[in-house]
């Protein structure tokens, strides 16, 4: 992990640093592949795969929020599903009982996520290391149980009957019931969140986080408030998780307390480790990959936990930088070669 995290931390400062470094190339590649996939799926009329991919992107948002904490700040959250589920429930309630407005639902989910993140952050940031992991785990567990027992929130049955809505984007409008347009919309949103977070992590804010990660005790001597930064990134992660959660009921038309369970948090951590800690694009790719894997393996055997568990453990031991980490050196070499080549051919 040290290597993994050091890579993560030093990535923005790698030789190819600039507006388009290797990770960003990977993001563009991902976008291109996703668009090709969308085109193929659309022409063959495969709504299911588009919607499955949309779900993968939604959970990619949750994984990115785990990565913000783990990869950039060194805090392992085992309870990120709390904010994902919160966003999902708030969005579901707004859409069903309030107004069927995308902006109102996501706005409310974001506000709730920020508020809950502030409370949770103040509690969880009292401690660090494994204590942080266990306290986030406990927090999520308590909230999940409360939701499971609250009749007003549908209790163990969850809430069904969330309407499909139209999203208006200025002159454009799209229907969440249409697999292609909703996929493209969620893809755009995910990439926008990715770009925003990647920018932020490259900015002074992200570099302070890297410093906290490396040695928290020294940060105050540099004139930064470590606690404030940790709280800020915790709230930011909660907002990203809540935003992704808000999209879930728009896709599936229901929410259930299982969205808040440890299962969901654990899956997000697995996704980040398999995809690549501290890369942001890794969790996105990991989510897509694992969703596809589960869909295939799940139809083949009910013992998918063994399959996913083995892949996960192998990633922890051997692929310390995840799949993206395994790809990156190769991409960086190519980029460097191209740069050399470019210099030579210049007049």
């Amino acid at each position: 992990m040290r290597e993994a995290v050091m890579t993560a931390v030093s990535l923005p400062r790698s030789p190819s640093r600039g507006p388009l470094n290797a990770t960003h190339w990977l993001a563009l590649l991902f976008l291109a592949v996703a668009l090709v996939f969308a085109a193929v799926a659309w022409t063959t009329g495969n709504g299911f795969y588009l919607r499955l991919a949309t779900e993968a992107l939604i959970f990619a948002g949750l994984a990115m929020s785990v990565d913000l904490l783990l990869g950039y700040t060194g805090l392992l959250s085992l309870g990120q599903a709390l904010y994902f589920g919160l966003g999902a429930y708030v969005s579901a309630l707004v859409l069903r009982d309030g107004a069927p407005s995308f902006w109102l639902a996501t706005g409310a989910a974001l506000a709730a996520g920020a508020l809950a993140g502030l409370v949770g952050g103040v509690i969880a940031n009292r401690v660090k290391g494994v204590y942080f992991a266990l306290i986030t785990f406990g927090l999520a567990q308590v909230v999940a149980k409360a939701v499971y027992n609250t009749r007003e929130l549908g209790a163990s049955d969850g809430i069904i009957g969330i309407p499909q809505i139209r999203v208006t984007l200025g002159p454009l409008a799209l229907d969440t019931a249409d697999p292609l347009s909703f996929f493209l919309f969620v893809l755009g949103l995910t990439m926008a969140v990715y770009a925003g977070l990647a920018y932020l992590m490259d900015a002074p804010f992200g570099r302070t986080l890297a410093a906290i990660r490396a040695n928290e005790k020294r940060v105050p001597f540099l004139g930064f408030n470590a606690w404030g930064h940790k709280l800020a990134v915790y709230v930011l992660a909660a907002c990203v998780a809540a935003l992704s959660g808000a999209l879930y009921p728009m896709l599936r038309g229901f929410v259930s307390p299982e969205l808040l369970f440890f299962h969901t948090s654990g899956n997000a951590v697995v996704t980040v480790i398999v995809g690549g800690v501290g890369t942001l694009i890794g969790p996105i790719a990991g989510s897509v990959l694992l969703t596809a894997l589960r869909s295939v393996v799940g139809s083949w055997t009910e013992h998918h936990l063994i399959v996913v568990g083995v892949i996960f453990m192998l990633s922890v031991i051997f692929l310390r930088k995840g799949l993206v980490g395994a790809l990156l050196p190769w991409l960086e070499r190519r980029a460097a070669a191209r740069a050399r080549h470019g210099r030579r051919s210049a007049p």
Binding site: R51, G154, S156, D157, E258, H263, S295, G298, S299
Partner: protein, 390 residues
């Protein structure tokens, strides 16, 4: 994902070209059921019941001359997984019908998905009243008995066997546990039972001994519980440990003591009474043949889940043959009011709420077997039609 799905997509496109609805084209039935997780034991009975029925239906020439195929998907007892798998079955595998969901959250979520895909589903296990009352759906049918039918049967037995009994209630503290207790309490009080107190323990409680003080103090003659699975194993064996089962009759929901946990409960299950729509001890030729075939195939006795899932194929077959098609709107009409044969006798699908009407039984556990101690005719147990949507 892209890499993995592209060949699949291409293959499907080819299949679509080569297919077409010829006479020999199989009828596909999707089964989304928990094969892993907490409810895996129930999923196993669902699978066994359906597979046994499949063998028999296909051996007898299929449905309208078409062979039947079952496509299983593991839903992990998680509605979020269930909808994803159900959507795959509907859209990729193009199943004609879908069944298998166990927890009511999954049944409700998949029911909504069926509406959006214009397909029909049936549950053979979920017994939450909501599915065929306030949250009923025109695309969802239930071939098993719901909680209301079960408590009606149990309350009637209680009134006859232990008139004016003092009853204490112990339920798991979640929606299903509380509503089951409330339903039985209402039914029992109507027939003269006195309530002496109630307590709700968290789901997955480890130790029930902390409630035994209150239970003892209330001095009830009957304890009603709506725990299930492992919770029941712990509750009953711990009660037996503390000597509480002497002079106390324990009654409960149909899912409280089942074929899955009765082995682990052992002697502590003896004397337990429940209201249920099926017992392997049912003395009819149809049931005897079914139990024998089931035992031969799986070396285990069928329980209500296995029997109701087995009966589902007969329901679907009868409906398709009546409608002459698998097309949704016509099939729905055919299913409404349909009568079909099952191991436990003829069942009728009530048109107004898509709830099966069937004879109900009070059964008592005697040396590990469910013996029938009372019968309530279907019409008496069913209760009013509370579905307002259709």
């Amino acid at each position: 994902m892209t890499k993995a799905t592209l060949p699949a997509t291409a293959a499907l496109a080819l299949l679509g070209l080569a297919g077409g609805a010829s006479a020999a084209e199989p009828i596909r039935i999707g089964v989304v059921t928990p094969l892993s997780g907490t409810y895996a034991p129930i999923g196993q009975q669902v699978r066994w019941g359906l597979e046994l029925a499949l063998k028999e239906v296909n051996a007898a020439g299929g449905i309208m001359g078409r062979p039947v195929e079952l496509l299983f998907e593991d839903e992990e007892a998680n509605p979020a997984v269930a909808t994803q798998k159900a959507e795959k079955l509907f859209q990729v595998n193009k199943v004609d019908f879908l069944t298998g969901t166990v927890n009511s959250g999954s049944t409700l979520a998949v029911g909504q998905l069926a509406e959006r895909n214009d397909r029909l589903i049936a549950t053979t296990v979920s017994f939450s009243d909501a599915i065929t009352t306030d949250k009923c759906s025109p695309n969802v049918f239930r071939v098993n008995a719901r909680a209301g039918q079960q408590s009606a049967a149990l309350a009637e037995w209680l009134a006859k066997d232990k008139p004016q009994a003092k009853v204490y209630y112990l339920g798991p503290d979640y929606e299903m546990g509380r509503s089951t207790v409330a339903a039985f309490k209402a039914a029992a009080e109507k027939t003269g039972a006195q309530s002496t107190g109630e307590v709700f323990a968290p789901l997955d409680s480890k130790d029930y001994s902390q409630y035994f003080g209150q239970l003892r103090a209330a001095r009830p003659a009957v304890l009603y519980t709506s725990t299930a699975g492992n919770d029941t194993v712990r509750l009953l064996t711990q009660m037996s440990e503390y000597g509480l089962l002497r002079n106390l009759t324990v009654v409960g929901a149909s899912g409280t003591v089942t074929a899955q946990n009765i082995g682990a409960i052992g002697k502590a299950a003896d004397g337990f009474v429940t209201g249920v729509g099926y017992s392997a001890e049912l003395d009819t030729p149809e049931n005897k043949a079914f139990v024998a075939a089931f035992r031969k195939a799986y070396d285990a006795a069928p329980d209500l889940y296995g029997a109701d899932s087995y009966g589902l194929l007969a329901f679907y077959k009868a409906a398709v043959e009546k409608a002459g098609t698998t097309e949704t709107a016509k099939l729905r009409e055919a299913m409404r009011g349909l009568q079909w044969p099952t191991p436990q006798g003829l069942k009728t699908m009530r048109a107004g709420d898509h709830q099966a009407i069937q004879d109900m039984y009070a059964v008592r556990v005697t040396e590990g077997r469910f013996t029938i101690v009372g019968t309530v005719p279907g019409e008496a147990a069913i209760g009013p039609d509370l579905c307002a949507r259709f």
